[in-house]
């Protein structure tokens, strides 16, 4: 309800509504983007760019679902585009050597809690499709149907990817041997 009012005010030209939307969702979007891109700095760029594009097109905005779903979907699409374009690469520990490049900052480095750090590292080791489903579902609150739409797969495939992703995370965090 609050989101709907914010959107209506934003569409009617309220900059205050735009800023309130940003403040409300930038944390979630940043976490989702960092989870997908594996890099906090790249995630900040992505969130910035999404909101700038959002601010430029209020009249074209047509929400089918919630504002949170809409913004999370924007993050997912942009993350995919950027990864595909090779502009930004996810930090995947097993196949990327630690870099001295100060422009990148893995998600785990932005987290203080030791358990959550390990989780972030484990998350980064998942195949992208599985990581995407896990992050979008648990952090972005997207339904499997919405995620299936983003990934252009069936809902069963999205659910399977989620189960595989969670199983792999469990194995990694519990120190089990991966096949």
């Amino acid at each position: 309800m609050e989101d709907k009012l914010l959107i209506l005010r934003f569409k009617r030209g309220s900059t205050d509504a735009l800023c309130r939307i940003y403040r409300k969702y930038e944390g979630v979007m940043l976490t989702v983007a960092a989870g997908l891109l594996g890099d906090v700095n790249a995630a900040q760029d992505a969130v910035h760019d999404i909101f700038v594009a959002f601010a430029q097109s209020p009249q074209r905005l047509r929400l089918a679902g919630s504002l949170r779903s809409y913004l999370t979907t924007c993050v997912a699409n942009l993350a995919r585009d950027r990864l595909r374009a090779g502009k930004r690469r996810a930090m995947v520990p097993q196949d990327v050597e630690p870099q001295a490049d100060e422009q990148t900052m893995p998600l785990s480095r932005a987290i203080r809690d030791e358990d959550l750090r390990r989780l972030a590292d484990a998350l980064a080791m998942l195949p992208y499709e599985q990581r995407e489903v896990v992050v979008l579902h648990l952090k972005g609150d997207l339904t499997f149907q919405e995620i299936a739409g983003i990934q252009e797969v069936s809902i069963n495939t999205a659910q399977s990817r989620y189960r595989y992703g969670i199983d792999k995370l469990r194995s990694l965090l519990n120190g089990e041997v991966q096949e």
Binding site: M1, R12, S14, E26, L119, L138, R170
Partner: protein, 287 residues
């Protein structure tokens, strides 16, 4: 040993924040981009009037302050939320027009123009009714009666002094105490969800009146309406933001000192008029 459930909970807890500098920079960029964007779209605004249905109860003579609740129009007030400046704009514009009509300095009955953005076709239509009950000194017991009915008023504004209470559909049955008051006017207005609209009423004896502005939206399940309501009498005003009420629910507003009270000879009395306003919103059913 972590279970799948624990892992899911941990991922939900995962959260990072943008640093303050980046956040401020982004907010600054957004404000700039949005200002540029607004400049482009303003040219596409359209002229349009809304529709108002006005009903005035008989028995009120013109000699009384005559809130001859003339239908002065529905104003879509451009951009932004319902705000003092917009309500003031509504009342000032309509009062100027009314004054010109009374004095004969204009020969047109056209309403003053108001700017409006293109309506959103998916927006639902909301019916708002505002009933005005002056509360004279000998009827002050109404407040205790309402309190006894379990209706509690919350302060909405200190200057001017105003209070409001949100009443559920069931509680509206206890509003029969309002029958002891005289309703001087009960205008109704049809407005689109998300549309800023206002009604202005005027005293024909002097260039004074009041304007009420609304901005309402309906919840996704269609059970609640959230409204921001503004009042202005051309000199004072107040706003009640984000009132949430169920369909058919009512908001009672007690406003003091916004409207001066005149006797039958047109003389202003010492104490300012107190007004009880009943605002009801409901979805307009489409066939």
């Amino acid at each position: 040993m972590k279970s799948a459930k624990q892992i899911e909970q941990s991922i939900r807890k995962l959260h990072i924040e943008t640093d303050v500098k980046t956040r401020e920079q982004t907010l600054c960029d957004l404000a700039t981009v949005h200002a540029q964007q607004k400049g482009k779209t303003r040219a596409f605004s359209l002229l349009r009037y809304g529709r108002t249905i006005m009903r005035q109860k008989p028995g009120r003579t013109a000699a009384v302050i005559a809130l001859a609740l003339l239908l002065l129009g529905v104003f879509s007030l451009g951009t932004g939320s319902v705000a003092f400046s917009q309500a003031r704009h509504a009342v000032n514009t309509t009062l100027s027009w009314l004054e010109a009509m009374i004095t004969g300095s204009t020969d047109t009955t056209d309403m003053p123009p108001a700017l409006e953005q293109a309506p959103d076709p998916s927006a639902r239509t909301i019916l708002c009714t505002a009933s005005f009950f002056p509360v004279p000194a000998d009827k002050q017991g109404i407040w205790q009666s309402l309190k006894d009915s379990g209706i509690k008023f919350v302060q909405a504004s200190a200057d001017p002094e105003a209070y409001f209470a949100v009443i559920s559909r069931v509680q509206t049955e206890s509003l029969d105490v309002l029958q002891t008051l005289e309703c001087v006017a009960a205008p109704r207005i049809l407005m689109r969800e998300g549309q800023t609209a206002a009604i202005a009423s005027a005293n024909h004896q002097e260039a004074r009146g009041l304007a009420i502005g609304w901005l309402s939206t309906v919840s996704d399940d269609g059970t609640e309406i959230r409204s921001t309501v503004s009042f202005h009498d051309g000199r004072n005003g107040f706003e009640i933001p984000d009132i949430v009420m169920e369909l058919g629910g009512v908001v009672l507003i007690r406003a003091k000192g916004m409207w001066s009270y005149h006797d039958n000879d047109g003389n202003q009395k010492e104490s300012p008029q107190e007004m009880l306003i009943q605002v009801q919103v409901d979805l307009q059913q489409t066939p």
